[in-house]
Symmetry: C2
Subunit: 130 residues, 2 copies
């Protein structure tokens, strides 16, 4: 498929698909006219890349991880590099921290919004029946 279709199917802008290519995360073939030609399996891979980026993992590290995450279901560990393992553990722990923090702030925001609503209610209907 061409870049536009991949963009639609993954909801990742074409700009980003080209960027991921630039970073060596995907390497589509080229048609005779120079257009990029993406294989089906790249849909999954792009989604994986997005997910990892969204989790705060930089492209450089994603590049290290991707070859290990080849099979969609089964986890294949080709070269069990202890350094990579450590890095992944660190990333996982950082994720846990971020989840906790996000939850904390989500609750704070929820409380804040509720307070706003009370304030708005008080403003629009200031006279409360005694």
């Amino acid at each position: 498929m061409k870049i536009g279709e991949l963009a639609k199917r993954t909801e990742v802008p074409t700009r980003m698909l080209r960027y991921y290519e630039e970073q060596g995360l995907i390497t589509p073939r080229r048609q005779q006219n120079g257009y990029r030609e993406y294989d089906e399996y790249l849909v999954d891979r792009v989604k994986k890349i997005r997910g990892l980026l969204n989790s705060g993992i930089p492209t450089r590290i994603i590049g290290d991880m991707l070859p290990c995450l080849n099979q969609p279901q089964e986890i294949v560990v080709a070269d069990p590099d202890p350094e990579l393992r450590e890095m992944l553990v660190r990333e996982r722990d950082r994720m846990a921290e971020r989840v906790a923090l996000l939850e904390h702030h989500r609750h704070a925001l929820t409380r804040y919004i509720a307070a706003m609503d009370r304030s708005i209610a008080a403003t629009t209907a200031p006279r409360v029946p005694t």
Copy 2:
């Protein structure tokens, strides 16, 4: 206190404290020699800023929120702007999404690390008693 002490107490590098100032999130007074002078209450505020930034809220929006989050405990809504409310709701929903995604990837990573460990165990002790 001076910038170095604030940095130590908040674990936010001086470089970033100056950056937050540049972005209008904190405005320390100046000593005669030009050094920045931070009040005690800024320790809390900087921590709040870090938390919000970590949650993916941009400085621009944090700048809008901070004046509302003055009191550490009580939530004070000075000007219940419905636009701000909508924005906050959007931010909160985005946070929820990000939490879900992070959790998903955290679990994936955990599974992956476990698989690695099995692989390492198999490599270092390849002969399993039948």
